[in-house]
Amino acid sequence: MNDEPHGQSQEGMPTHRHQTPHRSLFSIRRYQSGHMRHRLASLLCCMLAAVIGMSQPAASQGFAGLGTTAKGFAMPRTGYAFTFPADHGPHPHFRIEWWYLTANLKGADGKAYGVQWTLFRSALAPGDQPGWQSPQVWLGHAAITTPTAQHVAERLARGGIGQAGVSPAPFAAWIDDWAMRRPDMSATGGDALDDLNLSASGTDFRYSLALKARGPLVLQGQGGYSVKSAAGQASFYYSQPFYTVTGRLDLPGGAVDVTGQAWLDREWSSQPLAADQSGWDWFSLHFDTGEKLMGFRLRDKGAGFTSATWIAANGQPEPLPPGALTLTPGRKARVADRDIPVEWRLELPSKGIDISTKPLNPQAWMATRTPYWEGPIRFSGSRSGQGYLEMTGY
């Protein structure tokens, strides 16, 4: 998937990643976050490009090369009828896809925590093959954010041999020892994602959480067709924002029992974004009154492209038109040698919302092969609640 606006000119960008010795087997091209795009497309592409140096033949073809970038891959379209649990599983004919979970947790020790669990799928070629010849590559990111620390781990695996993958029923998504799966003892009935166990581990942390959905799946955008730019780039996108969580975190300081709420995003596409979009700011918010809000801003040379979905407490989604949500960056913090706006003002006049967000830990930096900021936030103002913020391209 190519959303690389300036083509290969970015390869030489001097960032701290570039200063690490070139040690790769496959002359790694480290795409840099300074030009990363929307969560949909470029995060995964960039990560994979960075990690494995995969060639992106269309990288130099820019915006006009849209048609060729997705050559051979299926494209999102309007009017698609989702079928579950099949659509919980992978869509190998699309270039990219993810299972993306964020959780706002409270520990028995009284402290707030955030947890991230992400499985990305990237198809180097459309379709799947058994065994090592599979062109599907899997990437996992996991993190625990505490008020004072950020614990991060990353995994990478080939498809085809069972090291990583997703099966829709009984639902299981895994990479190495990390898994998001429906427990064996789970009651029948309901959606396959209603009841999940989640686990991941890194050198200095591990976690094990149980998730129960208290509401329905939510289709984002127009019935699950989510537009990402004025030019019409789009993805298939649905969420399960209604999880309650119980579980345990293992940290260097010991184990902590936690409870809280979580949000799962499912998204897949083959399309790149517009050529001049340089990064994004993405919010998922749980209001204390039970409503949810998903909103993002794709930054470009102009005013940017914002989009949002208002989700009623009963799960009824209301897609908001581009521009309905206004995002204003506030205080900046120095994170990993760059200035990142860690506090924000969100205004959604149609719902009477005017809130300010504060991060749990301003240093919630995902120091993965392609780095970005992702961490739990709290907000107050006209309404209050908690959520997650992701910022790329700084």
């Binding site: 087997l25 180097l124 190495d176």
Partner: protein
């Protein structure tokens, strides 16, 4: 008086005697050349092993492998990953191509740890998709890519200068497909950072064991003996070379005694004089060292292709045929030249330091060694010999073996002057005529001065006899063994299983027997090895060279419950017929017999071919030995080529394979032979140096004899006779030492280094040749000093008396 003036006065000596300077420089540079040449070869080879070992980070990463040496199932890899083990699979195997072999390394690029990514495959390699999806890509050294370009059926090739020749890197999926080993993994690289709460290995994959990182790897271990061998030779050559330096420096110092005294009398302090001489020596040492290193490069570069071929043939180690200038050998070459020079000059410098200002300044012959010193030397020599015998009897290990060698050689060298003195004293008692008596007494008087050169000659001669005997014994045994072992008249290798099937069908009825030669590679008693399958056929019963066996050994093998093992494996693991052995995969067999297996460093076992296939269903079944009347071989080869389109490279007749084996054998000892000759040459130079030194100092001894009526012609003849007599006596002394050396090489060093013991054969004709060569060397070395003596003006002889004060 300034140091510069003193220096120029001292250096004027060399201007007047350029030949002496040349000898000093030549001796020192030759010694340095041999040493640094050998070191250069070793450094090159070690760098290759390190590269091979570092290729996938074995030198820095722990690994998981099956305890029984078999292949790891891919499902085990997935199970380990899903239990939290961060590991990366590697499949390693040999791909037999038309006429060559390719070591194939299958890796998994996504999980490959940073430590294993030491090689940058270069630009244009950024495509993961073509690498992991069929047909895949093969990365290899540029020369390997060139060599493989015409081979059909291989994936597209990419050149990477960082890979060793003969090795190709590819995706594990491609490797499994090319090697015909689906779902198999050789080993798992363990990433250094592992997640919290990882499961225990015993619970996930109990068959696997964790192996710590190993520097240098198997190759380094296997080839250690070979390099120790070369180093020992290099050191011997250097030691012999130092004798030259010692003589040349001694001569120059003796000749400059007058100058020294004059300089001291003019007010130069002993400290300044010594400093000036030291400076002079350092300059010479560095100059000679540089020349030596340059010569060493030439020696190394000339020998390296032979060494590479040997290492490839013997150990399968890939070493490039070109030498690179590595600081570790040229710096060490310079250093050893310097240290050697200073060590050789120590005695002379000491004398200058203590030079009594008013003592006679005339050159004098080296003092007659006291009885006391000789007794001390004899005791030291005997002590070394006893140490050598003791270690030979009770020691073990390669280092002990080489210590036996060293103690034997240097003990013998130390005893030589004692022995010669005794022989001369004995002869002296037998003769009554005055000239003969003077001749012998004078010879004894000369011994201390000549003994160093004679010791050098003894070392060179005994090394020559020892190594010559070892090589010839080996050659004789090896050719006999080849005749037995290569019983099949024709060896054919199919390119794929379907072709193998067509081939066997085609051959039915056309040949007397089709003997499968199939094997698997795996670990035997903890080291890399191979298990071969053999059909139950008379060929093996009649021809296979067994060293020890149970009764009905081949019948036992035919049942599938017993195996024959090679001598290397038996010696290394101390196995005996009747004992038991675990083959890769946990298959327990009885040891039915032990066979000799020269030219192969690895352990090997032979089982029944049916049992082999039953235990290792994935074994490659492509190679066969065919029994038929020798006359029918060319016709059959033509017929196979014609009907089955099998390339000529896939058929080898007995004569060709024998020739190839002998080539490998000859290559193995090319280096040894070359070093041998060079060492002998250096010893010859040492003789020249010593005799020149002595002749200049001997005037005071010769003048009285001349004055008593012996003509110069007669004196020259007597001098010549003395040189030849001493050389001959040294050669006689070298004979038993050389034979003892051969015995140590065959019975101790070879067993430790290669794992096989060879019978010793004696070749007196070679000794005769060597003896004549030694005499010739002595004759040549005496020529220059004697010519001078013959032309000596009577006035010079008279001056001896005139100068006596």
């Amino acid at each position: 008086m300034t140091l510069t003036v003193a220096l120029s006065a001292l250096l004027s000596h060399w201007r007047r005697r350029p030949a002496q300077l040349a000898l000093l420089i030549l001796g020192l540079s030759l010694a340095t050349a041999l040493w640094s040449g050998v070191q250069a070869i070793n450094a090159e080879a070690r760098a290759s092993y390190d590269r091979a070992a570092a290729l996938l980070g074995q030198d820095r990463l722990a690994q998981l492998a099956r305890r029984d040496g078999g292949a790891i199932a891919q499902t085990d890899f997935v199970a380990l990953s899903r239990a939290g083990w961060l590991v990366s699979p590697v499949l390693e195997g040999t791909l037999r191509l038309e006429g060559s072999r390719l070591r194939l390394l299958g890796i998994e690029p996504l999980s490959l740890p940073a430590q294993a990514e030491t090689l940058d495959l270069g630009r244009g390699g950024g495509d993961l998709l073509p690498f992991i999806t069929p047909p895949g890509l093969l990365y290899a050294a540029p020369e390997t890519v060139k060599a493989l370009a015409a081979v059909p059926g291989l994936p597209p090739l990419r050149a990477s200068p960082n890979l060793l020749p003969g090795t190709a890197l590819t995706d594990i999926g491609t490797a499994q497909r090319l090697l015909g080993r689906p779902g198999e993994i050789s080993r798992l690289l363990v990433l250094p950072e592992q997640p919290m709460g990882r499961a225990n290995l015993e619970n996930v994959a109990p068959d696997l064991a964790l192996k710590a990182p190993e520097a240098g790897g198997d190759l380094s271990r296997l080839t250690d003996s070979f390099h120790l061998n070369l180093t020992a030779f290099g050191f011997l050559a250097f030691a012999v070379g130092l004798f030259i330096v010692y003589s040349a420096i001694g001569l120059a110092f003796e000749q400059r005694r007058v100058t020294f005294r004059t300089l001291r009398a003019l007010g130069l302090s002993a400290r300044a004089l010594t400093a000036a001489l030291l400076l002079e020596l350092i300059v010479f040492a560095l100059a000679a060292g540089l020349i030596g290193v340059a010569l060493g490069y030439l020696v190394g570069a000339a020998l390296l292709p032979g060494v590479s071929a040997t290492l490839e043939g013997l150990y399968g180690a890939s070493v490039p045929g070109t030498l690179s200038l590595r600081p570790q050998w040229w710096v060490s070459g310079l250093a050893i030249a310097l240290i050697g020079t200073l060590a050789a000059a120590m005695q002379s410098l000491w004398r200058v330091w203590h030079l009594p200002l008013l003592a006679p300044g005339s050159p004098r012959a080296w003092a007659r060694a006291s009885e006391h010193a000789l007794i001390g030397q004899a005791a030291a020599g005997l002590g070394l010999l006893i140490l050598s015998i003791g270690l030979g009897l009770w020691g073990s290990g390669l280092i002990a073996g080489f210590t036996v060698l060293g103690a034997l050689l240097f003990g013998a060298a130390l005893l030589l002057p004692v022995l010669l003195a005794l022989v001369l004293a004995g002869l002296q008692r037998l003769v009554r005529r005055p000239v003969a008596e003077w001749f012998l007494a004078d010879s004894r008087q000369q011994l201390p001065g000549l003994s160093l050169a004679l010791m050098a000659l003894l070392l060179a001669l005994s090394a020559n006899i020892g190594v010559g005997t070892m090589v010839s014994s080996f050659r004789l045994t090896f050719t006999g063994w080849l005749d037995q072992r290569l019983a099949s008249e024709l060896y054919v290798t199919a390119r794929n299983p379907a072709e193998a099937e067509r081939l066997t069908t085609f051959l039915q009825g056309k040949v007397d027997a089709i003997l499968p030669i199939w094997h698997i590679e795996g670990s035997l008693e903890g080291a890399p090895g191979a298990v071969y399958g053999a059909a139950d056929h008379a060929t093996y019963r009649d021809h296979w060279p067994l060293l020890a066996a149970l009764p009905d050994s081949w019948d036992r093998v035919a049942t599938g419950r017993a195996a024959m093992i090679n001598e290397q494996l038996a010696r290394r693991a101390r196995l005996k017929p009747g004992g038991s052995l675990t083959l890769p995969g946990g298959w327990q067999v009885e040891i039915a017999g032990i066979y000799s297996d020269y030219g192969n460093p690895e352990g090997q076992a032979i089982v029944n071919s049916g049992a082999l296939v039953a235990h290792y269903p994935t074994v490659e079944r492509l190679r066969f030995g065919l029994r038929l009347a020798p006359g029918g071989v060319p016709a059959l080869m033509a017929e196979i080529a014609d009907q089955l389109k099998l390339p000529a490279d896939n058929m080898v007749d007995q004569a060709t394979i024998k020739r190839r084996s002998l080539d490998v054998f000859e290559q193995t000892f090319t280096v040894t032979a070359a070093l041998n000759v060079l060492t002998l040459g250096v010893a010859g130079l040492a003789m020249v140096a010593s005799l020149t030194t002595l002749s200049a100092m001997r005037l005071p001894q010769l003048a009285p004899v001349w004055a008593m009526g012996l003509t110069r012609r007669r004196l020259v003849r007597l001098e010549l006779a003395r040189t030849l007599m001493l050389a001959a006596l040294t050669f006689l002394a070298a004979l038993p030492v050389g034979l003892a050396l051969a015995y140590v090489l065959l019975a101790i060093i070879n067993v430790e280094a290669f794992g096989w013991r060879l019978p010793m054969h004696i070749f007196p004709a070679d000794w005769l040749r060597l003896g004549l060569l030694a005499l010739l060397a002595a004759l040549l070395s005496a020529l220059i000093p004697l010519r001078r003596l013959a032309r000596l003006a009577p006035a010079d002889l008279l001056k001896v008396f005139a100068h006596e004060r």
